[in-house]
């Protein structure tokens, strides 16, 4: 128990929280604010059916986008899910989500960056923007 407690608190102290890394979309960061605005349009056109208007997903089928490591963590992994899809079931908080996510590789790098910046700062999330260059780099790794 002592070990577990110590490990947990260590984890909490040293792991930068997404909030700490995030830049708030304020007037000080008009580029991020604009990206979020454009991303909202992409979300409504492409993502909303499965992940729902509130980002909460659908039980047993489509995972929530709210405060999960998948969304707030590694940006390259997140961009990869959008560009290549996700075929494996995933588990979040003890719930399984099994439906395949289709690849959305017809979206431009800009659209992917915008929609990911949007979901990382919507639904109670707060995390750094995803840059076009980051999406481009992931796309370059995928089979043509």
């Amino acid at each position: 128990m002592a070990l577990a407690g110590g490990a947990l608190s260590l984890h909490a102290q040293h792991r930068p929280t997404p909030a700490a890394k995030a830049k708030a979309p304020t007037k000080a960061d008009p580029a991020m604010a604009a990206s979020i605005t454009r991303g909202a349009v992409v979300y409504k056109n492409v993502c909303i059916t499965c992940h729902m208007a509130d980002g909460g997903g659908v039980p047993n089928m489509n995972p929530p986008l709210i405060k999960t490591e998948y969304v707030l963590g590694d940006k390259a992994r997140l961009a990869h899910i959008v560009l290549a899809g996700l075929a494996e079931p995933i588990e979040i908080d003890g719930n399984d989500y099994k439906q395949h996510m289709p690849a959305q590789n017809y979206l431009t790098d800009q659209q992917v960056a915008d929609v990911l910046t949007y979901v990382r700062n919507k639904f109670g999330n707060k995390a750094s923007a995803v840059q076009v260059a980051e999406v481009k780099a992931v796309r370059a790794t995928l089979p043509k």
Partner: protein, 417 residues
Amino acid sequence: MPALAGSLALVASHPTSVRVAPDPNNAGLKLPAGFGALVAAETGGKARHIAVTPQGVIYVKLNKVKDGKGILELHSQPNGKATMTGGFGDYGGTGMYEKNGYLYASSDHAVYRYKLDGKGEVTAPTKPELLVRGLKVGSQHESKSIVLDNADNLYVNIGAYANACQEQDRTRGSKGIPNCPILDSAGGIWQFKANQLNQRYPDGTRYATGLRNVVGLDWNPQDNQLFVMQHGRDQLHDNWPELYGEKESAALPAECLYALTKGSNAGWPYIYYDQQKKELMKGPEYGGDGKTPSTADYLKPAAAYPGHMAPDGLLFYTGTMFPAKYRNGAFIAFHGSWNRAPEPQAGYFVVFQPFKNGKPDGQWEVFADNFAGSAAKAASGRADHRPCGLAQGPDGSLYVSDDQKGTIYRIVYNAKK
């Protein structure tokens, strides 16, 4: 003692109508006049289909094993509440059905049965008989729902592991695969023997095909026929935005009730049913444009309901507790939609479909509503409860399971008929 004797005499004078007291708030449900509801039990599990034995023992199949149990056993108390008395089965799943002294259960791969004793209790909970194994399962439409006819046949839904048999599932603009290969082993109802062990695909018959996914199904005792509720295809707009608007896509296609016979073909993935045009339409993956009816000879639905409401339970009511209009009609549990956004979500209720002589007759109506908890929770898809399984108690009560929070509802009729 005099009071007790009095109440006993009262019960004895109404042998067919056991007076179970509804909860003061009818368990949060909205019901027609004269009906009441109570929370029979809170299981805390993902309660899929349910079965009630003639002795009143309630069995609940959980989608996911909870505390080592995939099937829960409950016993009813005289006040209508049910007490959890045990559990067994180390597998999740959906199917739960009782007939002629056996309890049938399914995982997402297999069907089992358990012998019941004279009290309706499972005799060997750790030693089920494996009836069918090796059923196809993908990452969607995994449920293997089950029902029996009166001739020892077992019917098993094997859902299609795709939305519309596209080259790339649910992908914008992806075409349908010709002669959809999924239909060989899924996308239909398979018939097996209810009393033969270790059956696999070659031992069964593809009884009906072209059914994308069926969760609610029941055997109609009036015309001795299998009826199923299909979950219609999703995402017309998402995948074909140039052909379907958001509103059309939220409304279409219908969730369909089919009356099946051996060899029926309901046409998935090549067609869908448009309940507004009342036509079978060519699917957009197979050359359709949203306007062109199909000329192919596929089975037409016996009745149609609004799109995406996800019918997960079907029950022909044969009891005498409810008023006469309900007898031999169908109750349908609509689990509730997800792919209607940005339109409001819908469903999360139990519908009554009148029947006459074994065929749907007249307009369906919402029977039990407000499982979601409020109109706003239904519209957002964040329902408190989602109706899934239906079963009839020995007294004619209607049981409804909820796979969101695990509530078991019992609906009773208390007014004078």
